[in-house]
């Protein structure tokens, strides 16, 4: 589903954000990218959702070579992904329901198909009762659930989550991780970047650890990480 081969990424002339990165992620897999801040986790994710092109090497995502895709193809690819951020990125002047519907509307979904789909995913993330609440009326954990609902509403093949628990307390963190596990259990791949090893350790999911832009550890598919680097 996703393949990186000898990928380098430089934002400035002098320093490399990613060095010789190679890995594969299969459909339905759950993968953690770990490492300290600045290790390159977010850059890997940005390359996956085509926010940045690789400087060299090849990146394949959902059958597309990311060096050759047009802006239009990128839009098409992103409709098959759901992206979740640490800062939620919800539109403040829209309700939870409207924020989720927004993702469907911008892809040109039929008007009468939007509402049932939105309610389905809001129910899935446990927020159906707060559909009409504005982001400022929701807790951090609830806002992140809305963001996950928005990522889910287009029935993506993969959810890409960049430090989704970075702004959350322990209880909300547990809830969001459990939600992502449930989503994965239903067949959607999840790629999550986190520096919080307390999330990673209790799971048996694949872990890829980055340090200074290079992969220093990859537990392999379905392996329990043996070292943490923490």
């Amino acid at each position: 589903m996703i393949r990186f081969s000898k990928v380098f990424k430089a934002f400035t002339k002098d320093s490399l954000a990613l060095k010789d990165i190679s890995f594969r992620i299969a459909r339905g897999e759950f993968v953690f990218f770990t490492g300290h801040s600045g290790a390159g986790k977010s850059t890997v994710l940005r390359l996956i959702y085509a926010d940045e092109p690789p400087t060299s090497g090849t990146v394949w995502v959902l059958g597309s070579h990311m060096h050759e895709v047009s802006r239009r193809e990128i839009a098409g690819l992103r409709r098959r992904m759901g992206i979740v951020f640490q800062d939620f990125r919800l539109l403040e002047e829209r309700t939870a329901e409207e924020n989720v519907a927004f993702a469907l509307e911008v892809t040109g979904a039929r008007h009468n198909a939007i509402s049932p789909k939105v309610m389905r995913v809001l129910t899935q993330v446990g927020l159906a009762a707060k559909a009409h609440a504005y982001p400022r009326e929701l807790s951090g954990g609830e806002q992140q659930r809305v963001a996950i609902a928005r990522a889910l509403v287009n029935d993506p093949v993969v959810i890409i989550a960049d430090e989704p628990t970075g702004n959350l307390d322990e209880r909300a963190t547990r809830g969001v991780v459990q939600l992502l596990r449930d989503i994965n259990a239903m067949g959607t791949a999840v790629i999550m970047a986190t520096h919080d090893l307390s999330i990673v350790r209790p799971t048996s999911y694949r872990t890829v650890e980055l340090q200074d832009g290079a992969i220093v550890f990859d537990s392999g598919e379905g392996q329990v990480p043996m070292t943490s680097g923490a």
Partner: protein
């Protein structure tokens, strides 16, 4: 389409002051443009009024038989440039002089013989009242054997011609300048909206919206702002016209068709300016 309309209107609701400011600024830019249009319109009406007075006078040699003059009138009327020909007899000329030149009334009434010649007054059709055509017709008239003299105020017609071309050139230059100012203003307001909504645009991209889809609400917003600015400009122009008509002289205002064209111009201007602005700023967001 629904979303495009909703998003465009949302921008007005979300930043009412900025939107009002944009519409007002566009309105004033178009107002000045419209004001200039009104001046051009009235100037044209005045010039064409002046042009109506362009006339060629052929003085008939004394003693020419009336039959010959009558036949010539038929010939002259057949000229493609000629609108009408009026025959002024010697007696009519004297009568006119008595009426019009009141200060010489005594002189004219004491005359034993009429010193004034008969004449043909020739008026040209609209479109032929310029120097070139007037001179050409006058030259042709000089070919008549009974023509003692042909007068047409060559200097005056030439000046009128020059005035007409200057008015057209100034109109074009100033019109283009204010049109450009309106484009820049609309472009800037749209740019502010694009930048203010950078976060939303980024999010639209991340959830898979195409550039065309992102662009559409901005284009509609620009068109609406242009149309509203155009409407405001029309109202302001009408106020200016009414004030001038009441205080100074009876002026002319745009016809319904011209007013509609003005509104359409404002709308297209808004659309074009926002298209240029969005194309320039969208890739950066």
């Amino acid at each position: 389409m629904r979303l495009t309309v909703r998003e465009a209107l949302r921008s007005f609701r979300r930043a009412p002051v900025l939107s009002l400011l944009a519409v007002t600024t566009i309105g004033f830019a178009l107002f000045v443009l419209g004001l200039f249009g009104l001046v051009a319109l009235n100037l044209r009406a005045t010039l064409s009024g002046l042009a109506e007075r362009v006339e060629i006078v052929l003085y008939v040699t004394r003693g020419t038989p009336v039959e010959i003059v009558t036949i010539a009138i038929g010939d002259i009327q057949a000229f493609p440039e000629v609108d009408e020909v009026e025959y002024v007899t010697e007696d009519q000329a004297l009568e006119r002089a008595r009426q019009e030149l009141t200060e010489f009334q005594g002189v004219y009434s004491d005359l034993e013989t009429n010193p004034l010649p008969a004449s043909l007054e020739i008026r040209l059709k609209p479109g032929f009242r310029d120097n070139e055509h007037v001179t050409a017709v006058a030259e042709r008239l000089q070919g008549f054997r009974f023509a003692e003299d042909v007068r047409y105020g060559g200097d005056w017609v030439e000046k009128l011609d020059r005035l007409r071309s200057i008015a057209a050139a100034v109109g074009l230059v100033i019109g283009a300048a204010f049109g450009a100012a309106a484009v820049i203003i609309i472009g800037t307001t749209i740019r502010m909206t694009v930048l203010a909504r950078g976060r939303e645009i980024q999010l639209m991209r991340l959830v898979g919206a195409t550039d065309g889809f992102i662009r559409r609400p901005f284009l509609l917003e620009g068109a609406i702002k242009g149309a509203l600015g155009g409407a405001l400009a029309l109202v302001l122009n009408y106020v200016a016209y009414a004030a001038v008509s009441r205080a100074l002289f009876e002026a002319a205002f745009f016809s319904a068709g011209q007013a509609a064209a003005f509104l359409l111009f404002g709308t297209l201007l808004g659309l074009a300016a926002s298209a240029a602005s969005v194309n320039r700023h969208l890739p950066a967001t």
